[in-house]
Amino acid sequence: MKRLFVGTMGAAIAVALAACGSGSDAGSSSGPIEVGSWSPLSGPIAPSGTQTAAGAKAAFDEINAAGGIHGRKINFTTLDNAYDPQQTIQAARKLVGEKKVVAIVAANGTAPTAATFPFVLQQSKVPILFTYGGAAAWYTPPQAGLFGAQTLYEEQGKNIAEWAVSNGAKNIVVVHDDPKAFVNVADSVVAGATAKDSSVQVSKVAVKLSTTDYSPVVAQVKTKKPDAVVLIVPVPEAAAYLKQAKLQGVTAQTYGYAPDADPGLLKLAGDAAEGFHTLSLTKLPTDTSDPAVAAYVAALKKYATDQTPSFYSIYTYAGAKAFAKILEGIDGDITAESIGKAVESAGVIDTGLLPPLSFTSSQHLGTNEVIRLEVKNGAFAADGDFMAPSS
């Protein structure tokens, strides 16, 4: 009886150890390539999550239809994380432990994804690539297996500031929400503007997150008589500011950052959005005169029939395409370990949709470029190609 007990326990421990085993064992030279992701498919962030999930899925479906990677299909699984760190950790355990994914690709969410780093990156050694989100701390110093393709908000802040200054702004007001993540971007606007021209006056107006009545804020801005206003706030607040500013006759040029490049802003702000300057991480998702964008729109139409082109889905579509290019460059087994090495030695990865990405062992964020956009005739229009801030 005792021997049976010991034997059973031994087997149980062996199974448990196997279940907790390192993700670096995942992957092989045959059969489908398991790739995982998470996005908020429920809850308040689901509107963006369904789009990020759909973009990556469309790309992998398209790649599979074209024969896959070295003849192997990609089995792509996206789990709902509801933008909740705990639920994201559960999703990560399922993807790494059960599905044996070789990588997490085009996931959505800065804080939820960061919560998985100890398990996914450090314990399981599974790489995380091209997350929709990210922070400076993710890449300085570079972490093994973590690679990004999204220009940091702080870099966006510098880019906006330089744009405003180059348009002649001498007195800039930065309206920003009060959480630290927004304050950091506002600070980068201040730094970028003064670095470009030390004579420029920059002041900040902090606003409570989720403010709907922007009349007191606009009244404050008006007293400062700015010639440019930079908004570091989410879409509904940016729309509320633009409408109120138009109503109160504030004529200063208005700038925003990439999260505000959203069709929702055009809908909510209406004609008050005309002339609004903002940034995009990708090519314009509606510019089908660009062959890469046309291919994305066609893939979305074919493989994600309930979706329309958006800044969310084009980013994850492009991220999935970049990942596929990395896999194509791997000779031999596709494993978590070989993927990490392949990213660093891939050279320049050009999807035609994202800025050209390049990674090294000391540089795990592939770009700091964005495209400048302006609202013209009720639609976003690109003002030039991808560009990085000069400072």
Binding site: K208, D213, A219, P236, G264, K267, L268, G270
Partner: protein
Amino acid sequence: MGEFVLSTLSGIASGAVYGLIGLGLVIIYRATDVVNFALAGMATGALFVASSALGWGWGLAAAIVLAILVSATGGVAVREVLIRPLGSGQLFTALVVTMGVALILDDVLLNVWGGQPRTFPPLIAGDVHIAGAAILYQQLVTVVVAAVAMLGVGYLFTRTPLGSAMRAVAESNDTAELLGVNPHRIARLAWALGMGLAAVGAVLAAPVTGLSIGGFQGALFFAFTGIFLGGLTSMTGAVVGGLVIGVLANWSASYVSANFRDTVVFAVAVAVLLVRPQGLFGQPTFDRV
């Protein structure tokens, strides 16, 4: 001067919406002892239905009536299907149920209407300049409509047999039943009226704030603050509390810091409640032990 006028008038308009939502909360709470956390979500849902009706070619007035009917009917349905079976005295259970309804409803709205925010047309477009501040006609209409709605509710409760019955149920279910009042009928009416008022509040606010899932949660938050400030059981308190919160929020954003808007509002609310725990218009209650 312009900044003061703008902050004050805009604050009154926002406060009128908080007052309407607060009034809806108080009516439901007094009649059924339920704090309805799903109120904002249900009103949002009703407005999404109205938004679709506009898309089908309905007129604005018809769409607004539809929103009020959907909200009121939804309120009665929630009360009959989810709250009534709990029985009386289940304050916290009912609270959790309404929270659950709010979360489920958000997901339903997301799946039916998608996540993109929508616009909702104003009752009257355009603006007027008052003392150097541009005020939307919609904001002025909001104040007028809210005032009319509040006066109507006041008349209903103080001058009609139905209002007397509702007040009787609010005082004591059992005593009202002995007097021949059907408390379940009154509860249904209270939920319909409370949710109808919430829909009116949403109709008035949406042209300014836009229509999005979870978009009225902030207003619900301020409405709760308003009813605690005014007195949880007082309908006058709900209205006055909402208006005070709306104006105070804008003044603190203008003259202290937009960053400390909530801090100032809650500091004042807490200070008032320390002096008058029953709120500005609430009655002190005593439990016999």
